[in-house]
Symmetry: C2
């Protein structure tokens, strides 16, 4: 028994021992303090725990509250009734009912792109990144894959797989100089990055476009946090600003956040039918017999329809009014930006107690602290939505200041 081989892992791209060691400490601490593992019923925008505690969720990514829009729910019901199945189980490359095609056609018109659907942005990235790595999604040249250090784990998780198809490196966050160096050195480079970060902030889309134009660099964006919340008809930050809309730019976006439904959209330009077939046939789980279900298709068609009307603009305005209201009272690094996420700085020692007090006052904000983020950068993550009332935002700000948040420099209310 004792002479049997014990294995030493390579740990080139990942290390579960380390990730779980670090992450579990964070999660256990959060859960012990009642700030994780919460179960609650949702009604009219208010969550109620089994012991009767009511709170408003200020860490929900449904930025426009389309998830509970009656037309979205009824769209889901209508599609279930129309198709009579959640799915007709067979790979779509063989036989498909028209559900996904209707969804992709509607989203294609909305985003002005060729759209392929996926059950999640994570599934889309896990399927597409290896095809980018091997040059099959691109111009045929196998690129150096450069993963941004901060890119979401749903993209970072594809590193070992991509590394079997090409070379993989990691760069510092938004390191344009490094990218240009790599572009000079390699025949092709593909940069993997969030369009909008989960802790606030956008990708340098215009600067990246210069590298795309100069060197043919590809960029793979996950724009999940900005779609619907940003831009005309909610087309998101990347497609609003990126001038390079051809095979060099690929964008995925969840439909589960501001869009308010389930699934994800892959936004493509300039790829021929042959390449779209390669995606359908070889992009990992995109080829299996578990697509976006018809309920999510129906909900998404209804949400897309709302995106085409003034109602979307009105919802975006309400979300922005809440963001501005928040910025009038609480100082954050994100203050003054269009981004719906704010990280309220707290000390490593006080962040958990502060989160608890805020929760007891009736608001959930998620604490981030060491070892999840660096020491000295702890904070409470706040997400503003269209559906929060002015009273709720004001009350949250008051309790945040009470528990140690820095008040905004010159609150307009006082100046007035």
């Amino acid at each position: 028994m004792s002479d049997r081989v014990a294995i030493t892992p390579p740990h080139r791209y990942r290390n579960n021992d380390k990730a779980i060691g670090v992450g579990n400490a964070f999660w256990d601490m959060s859960e012990q303090n009642g700030l994780a593992g919460i179960v609650a019923e949702l009604r009219d925008g208010v969550l109620t725990t089994p012991d009767g505690h009511e709170f408003v969720n200020f860490t929900c990514c449904s930025y426009l509250d389309l998830d509970s829009h009656p037309k979205v729910i009824e769209g889901a019901v209508a599609a279930l009734r129309r198709y009579g199945v959640l799915d007709h189980c067979i790979p779509r490359s063989r036989v498909q009912i028209p559900a996904l095609l209707e969804l992709e056609s509607s989203l294609g018109e909305l985003f002005g792109a060729d759209v392929v659907s996926a059950i999640s942005a994570g599934v889309a990235s896990a399927g597409l990144l290896p095809l980018l790595a091997s040059g099959h999604l691109g111009n045929g040249t196998r690129p150096l894959m450069v993963f941004d250090k901060n890119c979401h784990v749903s993209m970072a998780g594809a590193k070992p797989t991509c590394a079997d198809e090409t070379e993989v490196v990691v760069c510092e966050h938004h390191d344009l100089g490094f990218l240009e160096d790599m572009c000079k050195r390699y025949q092709r480079v593909c940069y993997v990055i969030d369009g909008a970060d989960s802790l606030g902030g956008y990708a340098p889309v215009l600067e990246l476009a210069e590298l795309q134009e100069r060197y043919g660099m590809q960029v793979y964006y996950d724009d999940s946090h900005s779609v619907s919340a940003y831009g005309e008809r909610g087309i998101g930050y990347v497609r609003t600003h990126c001038p390079v809309l051809d095979e060099r730019t690929i964008t995925v976006a969840t439909l589960n956040k501001a869009f308010g439904t389930s699934g994800a959209a892959i936004l493509l330009d300039g790829y021929d039918k042959k390449t779209l077939r390669v995606i359908e046939r070889f992009a990992g789980a995109l080829c299996y017999s578990q697509p976006v279900n018809t309920a999510a298709v129906g909900a998404s068609l209804a949400s897309a329809q709302i995106h085409r009307t003034d109602e979307l603009t009105a919802l975006q305005h309400r979300m922005h009014a809440n963001i501005e209201l928040f910025d009038r009272f609480v100082a954050t690094a994100q203050s003054g930006t269009t981004y719906p996420i704010r990280v309220v700085p707290m000390s490593d020692e006080t962040v958990i107690a502060a989160g608890r007090q805020v929760f007891e006052a009736g608001f959930y904000v998620s604490p981030v602290f060491f070892p999840i983020v660096a020491r000295g950068t702890a904070g409470l993550r706040v997400m503003l939505r269209a559906g929060q009332t002015e009273e709720q935002v004001r009350a949250l700000c008051a309790v945040l200041v009470e528990v140690g948040a820095q008040p905004a420099a010159a609150p307009l209310e006082v100046v007035r």
Copy 2:
């Protein structure tokens, strides 16, 4: 430009050039002959193409036709109305509405296991296999990961990721001798295999259990093709026969095939709450904010309820009657087994034309041929379901024999 670095890929575990080269030839040929890329409306079990051609799908994995059961559809509608959202977008490790817990509690009772839900079996495997590789899902010992040569691509795709956490090898199909050798050599072995193959056949569950008992081997089963279709209350082949129900056996199963809904169930035994938390927090996409949506939860609760009644047994009997009826007329290697899949042998030269004739006669069966399978092993894949009528099965068998299928040795009809 020309002196810039071109990359030579390692291709240790995968090779897109090869897979796409081989696969595209197969798919293009299928599509050019009208046997792939089919779009059709489904009504009352019959599919109709835009040009009016009607056909019955004999390659659909909804073996019990629960996908179109009125109670399943109304279960989806009821859950949408009850929760008022498809999802409340935030990682469940922070805050969750009770939907997933209700689903997991119901499935847990049904399967007699601890159940964790996932949006698909592929997502479950992509999340769990790296945790098995690092020993975090198991007894803490990092195992040698042995992937069966034939295991589904949703599991095989995790090889590069697992290889960064431990050693990975591939074995011949169901090679018990190789597994025993590895068990003698390594402190721990984890074998990755389908419980029920997509081309017909079951895993050697009892023989594997002997290795599990003798050497502590772990087995990771994907039992997607047998859940609901096999066993009392549809608990599937693995859980019906496997005597080792503790940390050494992990089974995933889609809810998208015979179960008739969307999503997947991870079936676990003997893991403590701490390990279940590790899954919730670190098993890849299981931790992101895109869970099984409420429509699928409601449909699954309704399907689980049907599984607890005599109706399930009746549906299984109807499926088996169709399997037996088929076997009375057409000879296949699977004849006489309980398995709902049959591969009707055809020559490489005739399989496509045969598939076309069958389709023209009103039945879809999917052709498999070189380069997808070895030369000389081509065939038409047939899936029997509870919902196909006796007339449809008889008519399919007649046309199969017409296009070259070998008739069963002694058709009972003739003998009678």
